[in-house]
Subunit: 290 residues, 4 copies
Amino acid sequence: MPKVALEALCASKEAFLATLAPIYEKSPWVAERAYASAPFASVTALAAAMRDVVAAATDAEVVALLRAHPDLAGRAALAGELTAESTVEQQRAGLGSLTPGELAEFRRLNAAYREAFGWPFILAVRNASKRAVLGAFARRVGATAAGERAECVAQVHKIAWMRLLDAVAHTPAGFLTCHVLDTARGCPAAGMAVSLRRVGDHGDLPAEYAFVTNADGRLDGPALKGDAFAAGAYEWTFRVGEYFAAAGVPVAATPFLGDVPIRFGIDNPEEHYHVPLLCSPWTFSTYRGS
Amino acid sequence: MPKVALEALCASKEAFLATLAPIYEKSPWVAERAYASAPFASVTALAAAMRDVVAAATDAEVVALLRAHPDLAGRAALAGELTAESTVEQQRAGLGSLTPGELAEFRRLNAAYREAFGWPFILAVRNASKRAVLGAFARRVGATAAGERAECVAQVHKIAWMRLLDAVAHTPAGFLTCHVLDTARGCPAAGMAVSLRRVGDHGDLPAEYAFVTNADGRLDGPALKGDAFAAGAYEWTFRVGEYFAAAGVPVAATPFLGDVPIRFGIDNPEEHYHVPLLCSPWTFSTYRGS
Amino acid sequence: MPKVALEALCASKEAFLATLAPIYEKSPWVAERAYASAPFASVTALAAAMRDVVAAATDAEVVALLRAHPDLAGRAALAGELTAESTVEQQRAGLGSLTPGELAEFRRLNAAYREAFGWPFILAVRNASKRAVLGAFARRVGATAAGERAECVAQVHKIAWMRLLDAVAHTPAGFLTCHVLDTARGCPAAGMAVSLRRVGDHGDLPAEYAFVTNADGRLDGPALKGDAFAAGAYEWTFRVGEYFAAAGVPVAATPFLGDVPIRFGIDNPEEHYHVPLLCSPWTFSTYRGS
Amino acid sequence: MPKVALEALCASKEAFLATLAPIYEKSPWVAERAYASAPFASVTALAAAMRDVVAAATDAEVVALLRAHPDLAGRAALAGELTAESTVEQQRAGLGSLTPGELAEFRRLNAAYREAFGWPFILAVRNASKRAVLGAFARRVGATAAGERAECVAQVHKIAWMRLLDAVAHTPAGFLTCHVLDTARGCPAAGMAVSLRRVGDHGDLPAEYAFVTNADGRLDGPALKGDAFAAGAYEWTFRVGEYFAAAGVPVAATPFLGDVPIRFGIDNPEEHYHVPLLCSPWTFSTYRGS
């Protein structure tokens, strides 16, 4: 489904609701009230407005919002009665192919959780494995009611965010940068070959990009920006072994660090992501920088 | 070619030389003199004895050893006249498929280097890319004679080490361990799924191993040891995103760190390699530990 | 005041209450109910039992516990009517010497907070600066009621923990270890001089200890243990510049890293603290290990 | 002694030599030949020109330069016959107050070293401890002649660099910056209090500076620049515990990280030093950035 432009969306309440009513599960009132703050300068701003609507809602409305969500691997899922969005989300987490034992475990946990809290267990599962889902479930079924309510609202917002990014074209504010520092010699790592590839399904965007670091250890300009900078998983590969061998820093015959992959996720393509590498021949680290 | 056991090798000088004479390029005297120190408790000890032979050799012998090496991508390589060992090594670095421009560059550098130092440019290339070779070549052709001699001897020892590991079965002293620390919460990362796979050609050894960290964030016992712990490249994959999501530490809808690969090389399978992970949802690092 | 031994404390309910009734501010019922679980093998176990009592208390009891706490820099503090414990705690954070402007700010925040939540703002202030207190106050006065209640209970438990450690002798289970890794060369940093000193007031314990790392980069045995291992702040000093200079790893005339201090806090002297150093001449890191 | 301005120095060969002849120990020819490249835009450029002179000198001249240096703690030192520069340098390393046993050890090592190499052991000792000097001595007395010659020339250049910085005013090109990242939450650490102090003797420069990080986790402008940015040791103190407590990130009653000191050396005040902090409540790291 092609993404809608933010401007087109804000042009009329009808267009707005046509696209955004399903963002919060079976709760069109969230989109409806958020429209009062239109237009929005970014998907980030739109998402914030929708979260504000939920924060300002009554207790009963929030609980109704939580209750509107389906059980994970629950009756509705088995009967094929989920919303289109929920169906895709649960399948991506492998919840469509559970063993009988796992199904029984989900049934037991779903029942215990509903009994304890009065609403279904909610988890943004699209990027979660079966193992992660069961781990979170086991922990959360024993949490406090106040804690779980806050946790479920946070999960609902995560689900909404991923649905928003699927439905609405992001603005070109975000970009990806890199910086490589040589911590064996205390200087920028100049002339290091770096490549970037997308991990998983990214449609028809190019699969791989190649760079070489400049004298300051940086790439000349953003590695990705605009439309090409989509949410999802990416992987740098840094030619660390090659770099140190060429520089004459002693490395082993089979270097401890040769090609170093760094896999990372982009959650908000309207933000700047700085993902650097600090490396010697014997250690490396990365972090979300700024 | 099946590897020879160290004991069989040391049983007679004939057996020793049959296998080890080619370890130092066209210089059987290294193996011959090293035999005086037989038997050897490990490939590591054998390699050290051979390095000691070179260290004790005369200047003329060392220069002859350097001169016994072929040019990289040189006349002998093009004519198919390399030793079996050198042929494989140069091909693995992609030197068998150079463009005419690259060939001309190698020819120019080889000539300039020989002119400057009186022996060929020597680089342990099996794990090096064409790019790394040219980078090192360009830097080293301008180095001092004393520096280059020391560098070439170091490269000759690296080449010998890789040939030794191909020819002789290593002792089972080495092993691989892991430790995962959660630096968001200051505790061992317990219950994290970890897998280990070999990268590249490892013959008929199993391809992948799966683990879960224990209460101390460690694996129960070595991940690899004995024959299964061969020299080469490996990759851990740590389920960091899953771990933090299950633990309730806030992560994004698309987590910055999901599955974290850590690729590393084992140079000496007779040593202990400790390759840990320190991670929060926003940073990670690794290093060769002990 | 000399600390009481855990055994003596558990010997009679009278002794228990004489020491522990004031641990939770004006709420002797916590100690009273915790006594049902006596004896305790450690201060850690005793503290856990007291936290369990609070977790099992009624809503009204918990709110009464929160309300039993004084305002920070409030009327009682100015009038000298705090409990002995609270007086010391507020003074250590510099709340005894506020400027008129700061006092006015505290008065405003105290009033706003009580108005919003119905109990006083609670913060374990003994190790907090005036700046930290005002920062936390400004943020928390706008938080949700559920969040603040959880936060205040957490702070109450921190206050109780520090009072417990002042009153009861800890068991000798805890100890401090170190490990230094040379990430420039990928090996343990052997032969590095390391010293350890206490920061702040530690009574009559020795002020400084000197060590040298062994071949594995570790100290021979714990740096501190038993009675000498008290809660509080400590500082390692690692002679990193000296180590690399002696090893022949190039460093500048004025090394980037010379003597490297690492300051850290021990919160629970009944636990193992592993505080290692990873260093090259150009970077270092530390973490709470295990 | 007031420092001379670079311009005044380059105005006449006489002025140049008056100040720079003693920079290379008893070897005024280095300054003399370097003057051919005057004027110099920076002390860095002047130092490079002097190093180039040494690199272009004959073998005999270089060996004479090495031989012009005094033994460490040697006869000349005991007799008070060192150059003014050497006297200060040896005293700062504590070589003026050796025990009889240490003196004997130095005498033994000096003799063995001269015997092996034909010139005295040379080490830039101003920032080295007695322990570092002895450690380097013990290792280097067994090194190769080619290695030691290169090492001694490197040490001679370090000594010259420190003498140059004492004698000549540096240009205002260098500056010091900082950046603090919160790796618990994956964002810049905004609003963290940071101070900077000089360690050791810095004459009449201010002793301490106070800052607060801005929204990007940086200081507004350089922490030091121009004349105030002198070579020597410095120490940041980051209020990490206070920052996380105010932010509501859980920390212990006695936080593992409270005030975090980071001590570092500035070797070249004409360069940019970026000395950042990456921190969670349980780990931190720093490095020389760019």
